[in-house]
Amino acid sequence: MKQLSADIVLGILLVLTFTSLVLLAAGAPVFAAFQNIWLGSFGSSMKIGQVLNVCIPLIICSCGLLFTFRANLWNIGIEGQIIMGAIGGMAVLRMDSISNPTLLLPLAFIAAMVTGGLWGLLAGLLKTRGGVHEIFGGLGLNFVSQGFILWLIFGPWKRPGIASMSGTELLKHKLWLSTLPGWRIAIAGLVIAGIVFLLTWLLLEKSRLGLKLKAIGQNPRAALLYDISPEGYYLLSIALAGACAGMAGFLQITAVYHRLIPNISSGYGYLGLLLVMLAGYRIGPLPLLALFFAGLNVGAIQLPIVLQLDSALSGVIQGCCVLSALFILGLEKKRRQK
């Protein structure tokens, strides 16, 4: 435990040093930049709301990724799973035959989970049946889903008269998820993230499923001798991750954008991968890390306006975080080998 906190302190120091060096090299005021990021993310209730809106899908995606990482799968396809979830949800919301939002929204939620899950399952089947590594399968499916969403936005689902990158027509107001008074955060989003987090913890840490996934992840050959078929659990874990991604996609359309936009996944899938790695594949540190990254993302938006810095800075900081984390994990591994 002592070692862990020492590692975290070392990590923070590394990140701050790297970032300051980058800022200095860019000729920017270091302190002012950090201050702006802070103010831009946690400076007002509106900003905090924005941060939470990023935080929620990040947590949900990361939880899903814990399942695949536990089975030692690299679910790069999570981006595509978010997109397909959003599309599945949107397909239901566009149905004119049902007009009651209390029926339509839950239906859309389920549809998003199912399409996301199926998209994940597809990458899983490519692996177990076709021998395609899940990284390549997932990457390929990401391109396919990206193409599909663009086709929908510019084709069948385009706004009447104009097709544009700004997305489809806005949803009817009654299909927007209701928000906390005075905040722009959907209550349902918070609840879903909380439930997903708890369920993930329960399944991975307390249930037989978590134990089996851990066993398969560590030694699929040995798992066979315990009558555990790795293939079935690979499919299950990647479908679960896809379902989580689908939920994130649903929230993106019903709580944040209220329409389908080309960049509906906002890179949260990739960011989720980094987050889980940073958390050392544990669930505990996820909420705080998600908050931190969400803050960085939102806070860096105003850097170009205030300091004439490129908003890519938040990407640089994120990169530094990941590299430092990998460096520290590497150190830890080396220590253990001694």
């Binding site: 249930s207 134990l211 066979l224 315990y226 009558d227 078929s229 293939e231």
Partner: protein, 486 residues
């Protein structure tokens, strides 16, 4: 060039792999190096090729001391090795492979050298052909020509006839004789006594890292076998015979891939209550047979029948085998049967039948502690499997074994165990499991096989060459069958 080893010793930590090796191979002769698996032959050859350092002693080439600190140094001195598995580049052409490791030369010059050499030794090699399309024997021929082309003067051959056809073998032997006539020194590492007898001028036998025998041609096989496997008095205290019952496992003309040579034409019936020892040199087919019976690998032809039903040729076979209470315990326990970073108590949970979906850590810990005490495993319920010693890993596997198992397949069950732990394993297998449980086990120790089994199967190059009741055979006959002596 003459090679001389003087007082060579090699330690790996506390293990003495080689001790006081004195050996002299003279120019123009073939010197055989024989011994069972783990006798130290490979280690000795790795020291000569510079891949491994020695702990003690010195090596002399033509009377002058050499250091051999790296493979490059060994190659510069003209030491070359032909490996058992071809160490080539399958995606390159014959000519490309031939050119590697030598000083750069023009392609036409290389082609001429290759054709000249292959004509000289009557090999049929096409320079432009891709190596991946060739047989192991042909790849070996390229490698041999390459070594000759690179001015190798001391040639080490590691089991050169493994995996090559009889015709290629016929072609290889005269070449080796021709090379020695031209002054080459050849060291031949082999298990196969008949080859050694046909080729070698001298033979040195290694056993447990020491030289146990050295002799010149002609060779007397019983003498060599004794030096290889030790002379063991027949046991008077053989375990009591067991009653046998119905056929539980049968193989019908099974052909399968696996290990080096796979398994060929295997037909076999195993009855309830039998304890069958699988003897053979490493990779002769024993492990393939065990894995086929466990449903972990599938036959290409023929059927494996377990308790009356034929195992399917897909990944459900292992599940079906386990449903039939068949258990497999591999030799490499940590790599194949345990999970490094999973605790002992979680290992027990994984094996549990019909467990609750949500688990109580405390309850499974209590249960695990009971088993840990019963099997005297030195470890705690929350320890990780990787922290156990080899002997305790085996105890854990036996603790995880379903006590109602009807067929138990063990790959080298006493591997890495001291004598006491080994005896404990056998005491458990014979006395704690039901008497009608059939047990199949492989072991590199002939002694163990002769002592604990009722029936012995001897494997050689992927075939069962001897199937006998333990009372109708003896140590020397088994040893001879293992090494391919008819």
């Amino acid at each position: 060039m003459d090679v001389e080893f003087k007082h060579i010793g090699k330690r790996f930590g506390a293990v003495q792999a080689l001790k006081d090796i004195n050996l002299r191979a003279i120019s123009g002769s073939i010197h055989g190096l024989i011994g069972e698996n783990g006798a130290g032959k490979s280690t000795l050859m790795k020291i000569l090729t510079g891949y491994q350092s020695r702990s003690e002693g010195a090596i002399f080439i033509d009377g002058s001391r050499v250091e051999l600190k790296s493979p490059e140094e060994a190659a510069d001195l003209g030491i070359g090795m032909l490996y058992q598995e071809p160490m080539d580049f399958p995606s390159l052409t014959v000519l490309d492979n031939f050119s590697l490791g030598c000083p750069p030369q023009s392609e036409s010059h290389l082609r001429r050298s290759l054709l000249e050499l292959s004509t000289r030794f009557a090999f049929h090699l096409v320079p432009e052909q891709m190596v991946e399309l060739l047989t192991v024997g042909e790849r070996q021929q390229i490698e041999l020509l390459r070594l000759i082309h690179c001015k190798t003067r001391i040639l080490i051959l590691d089991e050169p006839t493994t995996g090559i056809s009889p015709a290629q073998k016929e072609a290889l032997f005269p070449v080796l004789k021709q090379l020695t006539e031209e002054g080459m020194t050849i060291l031949l590492v082999s298990h196969k006594l008949e080859e050694v007898a046909a080729l070698c001028n001298e033979v040195t036998v290694l056993r447990h890292g020491r030289i146990t025998h050295h002799t010149k041609a002609p060779f007397h096989f019983p003498e060599l076998l004794h030096a290889m496997f030790g002379s063991i008095p027949e046991h008077d205290d053989k375990e009591a015979p067991r009653d046998t019952g119905d056929v539980v496992l049968s193989f019908h003309t099974v052909e399968a891939e696996g290990e080096r040579l796979g398994l060929h034409g295997c037909t076999l019936n195993v009855r309830a209550g039998e304890i069958i020892g699988l003897a053979g040199l490493d990779g002769a087919g024993q492990s393939t047979l065990l894995r086929l019976a466990a449903g972990l690998t599938f036959p290409e032809q023929g059927d494996v029948t377990l308790f009356g039903s034929v195992l399917p040729r897909n990944s459900s076979a292992s599940h079906i085998a386990q449903r039939q209470q068949t258990a497999f315990l591999p030799a490499d326990r940590l790599e194949e049967a345990l999970f490094h970073d999973i605790s002992l108590s979680e290992h027990f949970s994984l094996k549990e039948h019909n467990p609750p979906f949500l688990q109580s850590g405390k309850k499974s810990c209590r249960q695990a502690e009971k088993d840990i005490a019963t099997f005297s495993i030195k470890g705690k319920a929350e320890d990780m499997a990787k922290d156990l010693s080899g002997g305790n890993q085996q105890r854990l596997l036996l603790a995880l074994l379903d006590p109602e198992s009807r067929l138990v397949l063990l790959e080298n069950p006493t591997r890495g165990l001291d004598i006491r732990s080994g005896q404990w394993v056998w005491q458990y297998l014979r006395n704690e499991l039901p008497p009608d449980t059939a047990i199949l086990f492989s072991s590199p120790e002939l002694d163990e096989i002769l002592h604990y089994s009722n029936r012995i199967l001897v494997f050689h190059d992927g075939e069962i060459v001897l199937d006998s009741d333990v009372h109708n055979t003896n140590h020397d006959a088994v040893a001879a069958a293992m090494t391919g002596v008819q």
